[in-house]
């Protein structure tokens, strides 16, 4: 018996005695014999924690982490931003990590207040008054946004721009089948802008990305006008780092704004746990999926926080709930709030400026060196497609052996119309001039 359970053999015996049982197996007398597993689980024996950690160190050695082994120029929805020591230290405090959902507000003010502050920050980023306490990731936020729009408009037709992350679109497609939403893809033109359909009747929502998956800025006002004309909602999938320089989705008329919160201080983590940001207008609050923290008072008259409007949620509304979300990504929301507070007004803006300036420095270099076709559309933030003559995935492999994660190949499920044979390259505030210079040198060589 490992140390995970505290029971000594003597205690087990005396507890069984107390229950007038003679063995642990008797506890399972209510299970028909035929259903009992008559053998041991076919799993390896338990090991000491130090051995388990070493085993994982060996497994980890067969991955190539960024920074240590690879300089990261890949994005595609997951970005290599700096994470500050205080974020890690505070976000790892065990009171945050080992608490449950704050069902008893009197002993959960820590998590509740942190979420309230998170909601405030994300509402400022999104420009929308109401933000929930997190969803699983960017794609699940998009799914909930579509569900909200369809519920609100009582329609089922959704026009989704090809500029929305292809993986998110896949997820949206998966979860649209149940409620019966019809997703229609609006392709990108060669400048990376959405070509919206002419017929917009009975549309529940237009979904546009800002910047889009290619890192390019599209005309949001066009989508807004179409939505208004069609009586549809506008869903904007934004980048919570780009909003440091760009107007918020809310300011551009979004009804719902969703985002992947990973760039706000969450490690790359092989894709998760990440953080779905979800904001909407006050008018739509009763359609909001997930938890919402509100401010109130306790009986001493002190400010206190509590989850509110719970009647929307599945545990009360059950089959009539518009969302089934229960466990969310609270801890990641707290990390993001800490990281945003570490940055503050000026740090947040500087990250944006550094991403943009680094991207511009790279695209200028590439242009100067005549490497591929740099495609900036109407403007790119920290990411852009580079159209090249070699196979993008081969180039990624070749660059990896030179110490670079060169980008994301726009191939297969990540292919985008009009952007064949392209590599999606991202530059965060972590990439220095000399790193970019050697990246360009390596790319020149590999593409030769």
């Amino acid at each position: 018996m490992s140390g995970f359970t505290p029971h000594t053999q003597a205690e087990i015996t005396s507890m069984l005695e107390f229950l007038s049982l003679s063995s642990l197996d008797e506890l399972y007398d209510s299970i028909p014999q035929a259903l009992l597993l008559s053998r041991s689980l076919n799993l390896p024996e338990g090991r000491s924690e130090v051995e388990v950690i070493e085993e994982f160190e060996d497994l980890a050695a067969r991955n190539s982490p960024v920074s240590k082994e690879l300089l990261c120029f890949a994005g595609g929805g997951a970005y290599d931003h700096d994470l500050y020591a205080a974020t890690k230290a505070l976000g790892s405090r065990s009171e945050f990590v080992t608490a449950y959902t704050p069902y008893q507000p009197e002993v959960a003010q820590g998590v509740l207040q942190a979420l309230f502050e998170y909601q405030t920050m994300v509402s400022r980023l999104s420009g929308l008054a109401i933000t929930n306490a997190s969803l699983y990731d960017g794609s699940s936020a998009l799914v909930e946004a579509i569900n909200l729009a369809c519920a609100r408009t009582k329609r089922s037709r959704v026009i989704i721009s090809e500029g929305v992350n292809p993986s998110w679109r896949e997820v949206a497609a998966t979860f649209s089948s149940g409620p019966g939403h019809q997703l229609e893809l609006a392709h990108l033109d060669s400048s990376g802008c959405t070509i919206w359909p002419a017929n917009t009747s009975e549309v529940a929502a237009f979904v546009v990305a800002y910047p889009n998956f290619l890192g390019l800025i599209e005309e949001i006002s066009a989508a807004r006008q179409l939505a208004s004309a069609a009586g549809a909602l506008l869903i904007v999938a934004y980048d919570p780092i780009a909003t440091s320089l760009l107007k918020s989705p809310g300011a551009l008329g979004a009804d719902v704004a969703v985002a992947e919160g990973q760039p706000l201080g969450i490690p790359l983590s092989f894709g998760g746990p990440y953080l779905g940001l979800f904001s909407t207008t006050l008018e739509l609050v009763r359609y909001l999926p997930g938890r919402l923290v509100g401010e109130t008072l306790d009986t001493r008259g002190n400010r206190a926080y509590v989850t509110t409007l719970r009647a929307r949620e599945q545990d009360i509304r059950r089959e009539k709930a518009s969302s089934n979300v229960c466990t969310n990504q609270t801890l990641m929301a707290i990390w993001a709030a800490i990281q945003l507070s570490w940055l503050g007004t000026s740090g947040y803006r500087e990250i944006g400026l550094k991403c943009l300036s680094g991207r511009a420095y790279l695209t200028d270099s590439l242009k100067r060196r005549g490497v591929g076709e740099v495609r900036l559309g109407r403007g790119s933030f920290r990411e852009f497609p580079l159209t090249i003559e070699k196979s993008p995935s081969q180039v990624v492999e070749d660059m990896a052996s030179r110490g670079f994660l060169a980008g994301v190949a726009l191939e297969g499920r990540l292919a985008i119309s009009n952007f064949d044979s392209s590599l999606l390259i991202a530059v965060t505030e972590k990439r220095t001039k000399s790193q970019i210079d050697s990246f360009v040198d390596a790319l020149v060589e590999v593409l030769k």
């Binding site: 229950l19 209510s30 890949a74 449950y100 009197e106 306790d298 599945q314 220095t432």
Partner: protein
Amino acid sequence: MTPAIAPAGGKASSIPMMGGTPEPTIFDLSVAGRRCGTLRDTGIEIIDPASQLPPEYLRDAPLELAEVSERDLVGHYTRLTHRQFSVDLGFYPLGSCTMKYNPKLADQVAAIPGIANVHPLAPVSLIQGWLEICCTLEDYLTEITGMAAATLAPAAGAQGELTGLLIMEAYHRSKGNSKTKVLIPDSAHGTNPASVTLAGYRAVTVPSNSRGLVDVEALAGFVDEEVAGIMLTNPNTVGLFEAEIAEIAALIHSVDGLLYYDGATLNAIVGVARPGDMGFDIVHSNLHKTFATPHGGGGPGSGPVAVAAHLAKFLPGPYPVRTENGFDVAYPEASIGRVHSFFGNAVVYARALAFMKALGGDGLAMMSRLAVLNANYLKAKIAPYYPAAYETTCMHEFVVTVAKIKKDSGVRALDIAKALLDEGFHAPTVYFPLIVEEALMIEPTETESRQTLDAFAESLIEIAMRTEDSDAAASMHDAPSKTPASRVDEARAARHLVTSVDARN
């Protein structure tokens, strides 16, 4: 929003909980111009955004965030943690939530750079370690649940449910079945019916019998060709094993329906019985419950879904697979599609697998046995004051009713929960499942010692005895008083909706 001129700033950047005062918000501590630190010097000149981005999309003014020093940042969040209960601080017997201790070894695993800093879109040659972790965890889960294949991708139990129901739907579609409804017992968790609706089915509630179990005869009345399947937890949410599960399975399978297993209660039976052997076709497990990954104050979780062999082709993709030369990523042939932006909450897998490897097969089986022992022990200890809703030997949790206490004293389940907070314990789940009046749902988990159970029982009994005195009973409506906040006005929060600092006034 913060005015442009430096305001007074927070009244105090340094009032710890010991002072008994509530913590100001981070915005209250903000002073324009303060910061925690500088960003890295990239050596690249900062350019004018207007030279790169459409000027009409540029912000007019910087977005306002809290402006604090790192000292105040650390003070703020550290003080917040002193206002937060957690498993690491004490007993957390929340029924249906399995708030067991989360071993620290998993934190160390999660922090390894080769685990934490891997880009999900890196080519498979650079993520072999991660793909092996995924495949190994799938193997463990299929062995534990008795299923044939699994996907790890769902980010929590509820997403697992929906994923599983979409697999159910894909199965029926592939067979040309026209199904419209999914059966759900009245004791089910709210996510179950909600997921059914989102999967495009109609949820049909099946009443439990007086023993807290699915009534097989009654169930038969609900079963027809339109039934796509049934969602069950076993043990169910009143903590009892559905002994007639084989009969239920036969009934559902007789109309080509599928059985969905809600894994929230798996902690009772790991290594003892397997959903697959009971006839379930689709099973999710909550790694943040059974497999000791922390709940994070509300998340992240992870809700892998395992399925019987004939359903494997419907699993979501991308899917890590073992090949002759290492690991690769694939899509099942008839996949329902993608359910997560990347591969799911991957770091949670690493934690869960580390836990499983530490315990091993026999350790996991002992874990469940002791969870059940603890529940029965506690149930028996408090039985004279807190009658169980159902008499049978419970599994890893049980439900008591305080209907009589309420009738006699006016003290509700909620008041008892709040009184427990004053004793230093977290409260059990209250008012769930819905089929039990004034329910307290208690799940001690296997990681608590007999001494903790005894102390908890003592407090519970002491509270029950207090309800016999009318003054003491009346004062319980004001509990708790020793906690960081006293009783919180939930109604006010909904009436005056303030969900961000900017909505105040």
